[in-house]
């Protein structure tokens, strides 16, 4: 394959082909200079291309943010700052308050996190420490790993279906036994579904980090008379905590924004949830549910403003998480 660098100099060289010895060496110099300047041009071109890709992403984020802000202006004119802590969402009378959905979003996400953390860390330890797949005859571990990756790939509408047909009846049974109103759908069911959906994110990142803990540290601990559990408790987990936290944060981000599966099982009520069993709504599920029904400009704008709130919440949590990670990794 001819080098692309060589093309322009060969054109030039044909022009100098029948000149004297002195000019020939001169032409060789010129060819070289040309080639270098061409290479430099290519380098600059490549660099600018990369810069363009980076700037595009930056512009996109800013553009999305601006779209949300501009779209929210009518709603902000109508409701003002009260929008953010208004407890009532009633499109018929034109009262728009985001608080029930903000609470619904945070409640489902953190509850899901709480449910999923023990599982994701256990899976990460199982795969990263006890049964590393690929080594020896750990067929089971390989299957578990496949399953974890598969869970991440299932479309969320399928989770919604499964939740509706399997989880909802189970939760309804529990509610009957505990003598709370047996809706079946609600915050708790949504959290369960979310928990299952986000396990792979925390689990695979944590597993990666756990298998990166240097063997020499583990050996040092064993040589001091530690058992496998003690090595995990005092060496592996403290060493890997930053990565595990990052994984949890990733899964939280996923939980905050998840729309479809949540919408299908949360019950879609615009009241502030009174318990974890009551039906509710999240920012994302309200937008998905009511977007097609938004009859007037203020209603539509209020939904866009909910989107803005969701955007800000996820950004804030992302930033806080970054800060915590930095603090962890320096100490």
């Amino acid at each position: 394959m001819p080098s692309p660098l060589a093309t322009p100099p060969t054109e030039k060289s044909s022009r100098y082909s029948d000149t004297t010895e002195a000019t020939r060496s001169l032409s060789r110099m010129r060819r070289l200079t040309l080639r270098i300047s061409y290479a430099e041009k290519k380098d600059r071109f490549f660099r600018n291309g990369l810069l363009l890709a980076g700037l595009t992403i930056l512009c996109l984020v800013i553009a999305i943010f601006l779209t949300l802000v501009i779209g929210s202006i009518p709603s902000f004119r109508a409701t003002g700052i009260h929008f953010f802590w208004g407890k009532v969402w009633d499109p018929v009378t034109g009262v728009f308050g985001a608080l029930p959905f903000l609470i619904g979003t945070l409640l489902t996400s953190f509850l899901a996190l709480l449910i999923s953390i023990p599982f994701s860390i256990s899976i990460a330890l199982f795969l990263g420490e006890y049964f590393p797949p690929g080594k020896g005859k750990n067929r089971l571990a390989g299957l578990v790993q496949e399953a974890v990756e598969l869970i991440a790939g299932i479309p969320s509408v399928i989770y919604g279906f499964w939740g509706l047909f399997v989880l909802v009846p189970i939760v309804r049974n529990i509610e009957t036994q505990w003598h709370v109103l047996p809706y079946g759908v609600g915050i708790f069911t949504a959290s369960l579904i979310l928990a299952i959906m986000i396990i792979p994110y925390a689990a695979s990142l944590s597993r990666e980090i756990i298998s990166l803990v240097p063997d020499e540290l583990k050996e040092a601990a064993y040589s001091l008379g530690a058992t496998h559990w003690e090595v995990i408790r005092y060496i592996v987990l403290p060493y890997a905590r930053t990565g595990i936290f990052a994984g949890i944060l990733l899964s939280l981000g996923r939980a905050l924004g998840e729309t479809m599966a949540v919408t299908m099982v949360i019950g879609n009520t615009s009241a502030i949830p009174t318990s974890i069993f009551s039906p509710g709504n999240t920012l994302a599920s309200v937008i998905a549910n009511e977007f097609t029904e938004a009859a007037n400009e203020t209603y539509l704008s209020a939904l866009i403003e909910l989107g803005l709130v969701l955007f800000v919440v996820t950004t804030l949590i992302h930033l806080i998480g970054k800060r915590v990670i930095r603090q962890f990794s320096t100490t």
């Binding site: 050996e219 040092a220 001091l224 008379g225 058992t227």
Partner: protein, 252 residues
């Protein structure tokens, strides 16, 4: 003569089907530095790791024969108990990066869930660091992370961590191979101090080091213990042709 602290009888070790240590017989005595030397791949490190059963962490490892620690078969003991009595220092300094110097010295107690009161802790930290010749250098920085120290200091911290558990035997797996000459000299000097309280088994591929620091030397070749003798005797009048060849530099 007193009873040997460690006796090895007809000992073999395998990884899978590969026999790494063949039929070793050996008696080691208290308060001496025993060097285990030989070319790379001769089984010396594997042999060392069999003494505190660290080789068991590698899948497919298997042994035959006996190792007796003060007359007790180590393969009938709990590995935890054994490792508390036989400490280990590794090739590369490996202080725990998330712990301070103070916590590193006490790591063995933390790892075994042994609770100590503050006074005991401080006494153990000071005496272990003193024995490892590190106290004077770090006594004002005990709350700093162990990884801030230089390589030689880190290795001495690892020695302090091992002797904090008051073992009978200290295994050293090429403890100076990752260190500069000055740190190496410091560690070698320290070994002479340590043998007053402990029995040291030092794996080295460096003949000069074996000659400098050890009282007895075991020469391993192709998994076999070729010769075991007081160091001076082994280096001046080797009995086996292979030992002769090795110390005169015919192979390394």
């Amino acid at each position: 003569m007193e009873r040997p602290i460690l006796e090895v009888k007809d000992f073999h070790a395998w990884f899978g089907t590969h026999e790494v240590v063949r039929n070793v017989n050996l008696s080691l005595h208290r308060n001496r530095v025993i060097a285990v030397m030989g070319p790379s791949g001769c089984g010396k490190t594997t042999f060392l790791r069999c003494i505190n059963r660290m080789h068991e962490l590698t899948p497919g490892a298997r042994t035959e024969g006996q190792i007796l620690l003060e007359g007790e078969d180590i393969y009938r003991m709990s590995p935890i108990m054994l490792r508390l009595r036989v400490g280990m220092v590794f090739q590369r300094p490996n202080p725990f990066p998330h712990m301070t110097i103070y916590e590193n010295v006490l790591a063995g107690y933390l790892l075994n869930n042994i609770k100590l009161n503050r006074n005991d802790k401080e006494a153990i930290v000071e005496s272990s660091l003193r024995k490892a010749a590190l106290w004077e250098e770090v006594k004002d920085n005990l709350k700093k992370k162990g990884t801030f120290l230089s390589g030689g200091q880190q290795q001495r911290l690892c020695i302090a961590r091992a002797i904090a558990m008051k073992p009978d035997i200290l295994l050293l797996d090429e403890p100076t191979s990752a260190l500069d000459p000055i740190s190496t000299a410091g560690i070698e000097e320290l070994l002479q101090e340590l043998k007053k309280n402990y029995t040291l088994i030092l794996v080295t591929h460096n003949m000069q080091q074996a000659a400098r620091v050890s009282d007895d030397t075991a020469f391993f070749y192709m998994g076999e213990l070729v010769e075991f003798a007081p160091t001076r005797q082994l280096f001046t009048a080797p009995q086996d042709q292979r030992t002769q060849n090795y110390i005169t530099g015919r192979f390394s």
